[in-house]
């Protein structure tokens, strides 16, 4: 059983993560986590102290749970970069600030870091308007490069093929073939995957939008920094941790919005996809990192996510996730693990840590924090 603790500021409730049913029990472990949530309210995605909250909360949780593996995400610079006009100097300051937090965490915790950047950002160039096609084009909120086309007509395909801002149109079969060795459920893939050129973003039907200033830049390789070794692919990071975890305490630290170009620590570039496909910061990238195998099909960009949102959908606090991903890094290392970060539901779903604390923010609206305890002894 997995439990979720919601802290909406001065108010806490415990739920069964799968069903959403209220849970009354309060074990010492639950109380320890609830106390941390009470002490550490999330300041907000764009707040100056958004990344400091990650460090402080993680340090508190280490003190309370004594884990050997920590998964952290620092994402504030990604949110700010996406929606703010920043000079180069301001962006450099943002990068410097996040690494001060990484350094503070490492110095205070004594954990050995393995740091991964999810890919750089670049100025937004323009929209590719696909809202008036015969077919339906869907994308996800944070994606710029990819969108899915459903029920597209021949006229749609002609129109899309003539758009210079579109890099390629990939049929479902071709997309499956590219990752044919990776298995997994691929029933959600749209008929066509549309791929934008760098800087462009698909304008699809969607929610109320803030003005976008930056989008993910091409990230065929991403930076990885570890003092004990290197990897050639994002799928190898999990193994790198597993091989070392019984010799030292390791913190796998994900820094969003940073690529090989602006990564300030010594690092290696590792492959972040395959052929023409690279991951944007997303659940697919996180799940690939934490499971050690490509996860492009699980919740692919442009799938009809809303069809699965019926009443009684399980995991109501976990967004579009319909189950807890299996064989994730923290769930299979055989040591105590925690996860903390300001990338909402990815924290309790992707690493599979015993205990996670995440911001409960949606579309930048700050509603508090959520902790999740996955089948941990003592819950």
């Amino acid at each position: 059983m997995s439990l979720a603790i919601i802290d909406a500021r001065q108010w806490q409730r415990v739920f069964d993560l799968r069903t959403g049913a209220g849970v009354e029990k309060r074990t010492p472990l639950l109380k320890m986590v609830m106390d941390i949530q009470s002490r550490r309210p999330y300041p907000g995605d764009l707040d100056d102290s958004g990344n400091r909250w990650v460090t402080d909360t993680a340090l508190d949780l280490i003190e309370g749970y004594d884990p050997s593996f920590v998964f952290l995400t620092y994402a504030r610079q990604f949110f700010i970069g996406r929606y703010s006009v920043l000079t180069d100097g301001e962006w450099a300051g943002m990068v410097s600030s996040v690494f001060e937090e990484v350094n503070r965490f490492v110095a205070r915790s004594g954990f050995t870091p393995l740091i991964v950047g999810t890919g750089a950002m670049m100025p937004f160039a323009d929209f590719i308007d696909v809202t008036r096609l015969d077919g339906l084009v869907l994308s996800t909120h944070w994606s710029a490069r990819y969108a899915g086309l459903h029920e597209g007509s021949a006229r749609d395909l002609d129109y899309l093929a003539a758009r210079p801002e579109i890099e390629r149109i990939v049929s479902r079969d071709d997309f499956r073939r590219l990752f044919s060795d990776c298995g997994g459920d691929n029933s959600r893939i749209p008929e066509y995957l549309l791929v934008a050129r760098p800087g462009y973003m698909f304008r699809t039907v969607g929610g109320a939008f803030r003005r976008v200033r930056r989008v993910p830049a091409p990230a065929y390789t991403i930076p990885v920094s570890a003092e004990w070794g290197g990897v050639s692919s994002i799928t190898g990071i999990r193994r790198l941790v597993a091989e070392e975890i019984h010799r030292r305490k390791i913190a796998l630290i994900v820094v969003e919005g940073l690529g090989v170009e602006d990564f300030p620590w010594s690092h290696q570039g590792c492959e972040n996809g395959r052929d023409w496909f690279y991951y944007e910061p997303s659940d697919a990238q996180y799940l690939t990192l934490t499971t050690g195998r490509h996860q492009v099909f699980e919740y692919p960009t442009g799938y009809r996510y809303f069809q699965e949102d019926a009443e009684k959908k399980e995991y109501p606090l976990s967004g579009y996730f319909t189950s807890i991903p299996e064989n994730t890094i923290a769930s299979s290392l055989g040591v105590r693990g925690i996860a903390v970060g300001n990338r909402s539901m990815l924290m309790h779903m992707a690493p599979g840590a015993d205990i996670s604390i995440e911001c409960f923010a949606r579309n930048l609206f700050n509603q508090g924090t959520m902790a999740v305890l996955h089948g941990t002894e003592g819950i």
Binding site: A8, R132, E311, P316
Partner: protein
């Protein structure tokens, strides 16, 4: 006389409104009654005077066009479990200090148009069908600032058999309130507070008088639910007075009391005390039974309880501003499963995927 001219429907006029008399291009859409002319777009910045007519500046441009659970809007007593297409435009005639959508509602609409979606009413309804939606709901900002476009959407929606609802602040003139009633059949009206001081300081309007008047009018024209965001030490002392007013209009009006989510100019404000507000609402349920308290994750106060016997009839789960969802309807139709008493609902439960394949 106002005539409505949109880019896609040149010279479009709605016969229902040809009798609205106007003097010197005074806008008659909302109670600000702005003088439009010389390029001035008025308070909402969505209308201008052009060649002796009041014209919509950005017809058929939508800031939002996304499928959503109807409970997320929120509508708790209209077609439970159904999927609606949430649409919105830009601009607003209020200046709420805590506005959650200020990046659309308070910005100059000319500045946000780059990110908006252009769809004619016909295209919008086609998208709604493709997305398997049962209804269209205007959310995000205030529908009064885009009425000509919405008249066009309503005509198409009617033809498609698709009901329309909206969130509105109801700061409309009597004439445009009637117009709202012709477009929409279900409303969630924001009644932010009663006192002039509160309305001046937090909402930017002189008085809630027109809103109260229009709640009474719209309650006669369609299905009405009401939402009040609670701001500690600002309007929390008015909860009982608001409840008494609503009970006088109709004791079965569903009332959504929102815990303020501090945003925009009030980002640093305290999050209101949940237990204190919940306690204050308890006695109110004696005369206004459908009182809900939410806008925070995991709220305990989102279920519909039978006013007759107290049995839980509809269960929901609240994800705060992330959207509420239906868990289960226990009643048969709109009847309490325990005592058989009627629960007032507009329509009946609609299966989430009922509209799939409509296109």
């Amino acid at each position: 006389m106002i005539d409505f001219i949109s880019r896609d429907q040149p010279g479009f006029q709605n016969p229902a409104y040809l009798d609205i008399k106007e003097v010197f291009m005074q806008c008659a859409y909302c109670e600000w009654r702005c003088e439009l002319g010389d390029g001035s777009p008025g308070v909402c910045r969505m209308y201008i005077e052009e060649k002796g007519a009041i014209r919509e500046r950005f017809p058929n441009l939508w800031s939002s066009c996304i499928p959503s659970r109807v409970e997320s809007v929120p509508f708790y007593h209209a077609w439970p479990g159904s999927r609606c297409l949430v649409i919105g435009t830009a601009g607003c005639n209020f200046r709420c200090r805590y506005c959650s959508n200020s990046f659309v509602a308070k910005q100059d609409p000319a500045m946000v148009r780059e990110g908006m979606i252009e769809l004619t009413p016909k295209e919008l309804i086609r998208r709604a069908k493709q997305l398997g939606c049962h209804s269209i709901v205007f959310n995000v900002n205030e529908p009064t600032v885009s009425l000509p476009s919405l008249l066009g959407v309503a005509a198409e929606a009617r033809e498609a058999g698709m009901p329309m609802g909206c969130l509105t602040n109801a700061y409309t003139t009597e004439e445009s309130t009637e117009m709202l009633g012709s477009i929409f059949s279900f409303f969630n009206i924001g009644l932010k507070g009663l006192s002039d001081t509160f309305n001046r300081d937090y909402i930017g309007i002189p008085s809630a008088g027109p809103v109260l008047r229009n709640i009474r009018t719209l309650a006669k024209l369609g299905h009405v639910e009401v939402t009040t965001p609670v701001i500690e030490s600002a309007n929390d002392n008015e909860l009982e007075d608001i409840a008494r007013f609503l009970a006088d209009v109709d004791p079965l009006i569903p009332w959504h009391v929102f815990r303020l989510l501090p945003e925009d100019e009030m980002k640093e404000a305290r999050y209101p005390d949940i237990d204190a507000i919940a306690g204050a609402l308890e006695t109110i349920r004696g005369y206004l039974p459908h009182v809900y308290f939410h806008n925070f994750v995991g709220s305990d106060w989102v279920n519909t309880v039978c006013p007759g016997c107290g049995a839980t009839v509809i269960e929901r789960f609240s994800l705060g501003c992330g959207g509420d969802r239906l868990i289960s309807c226990h009643g048969r139709g709109n009847r309490c499963p325990s005592c058989g008493g009627e629960i007032r609902l507009l329509g009946e439960k609609v299966a989430w995927n009922a509209g799939e394949g409509r296109s």
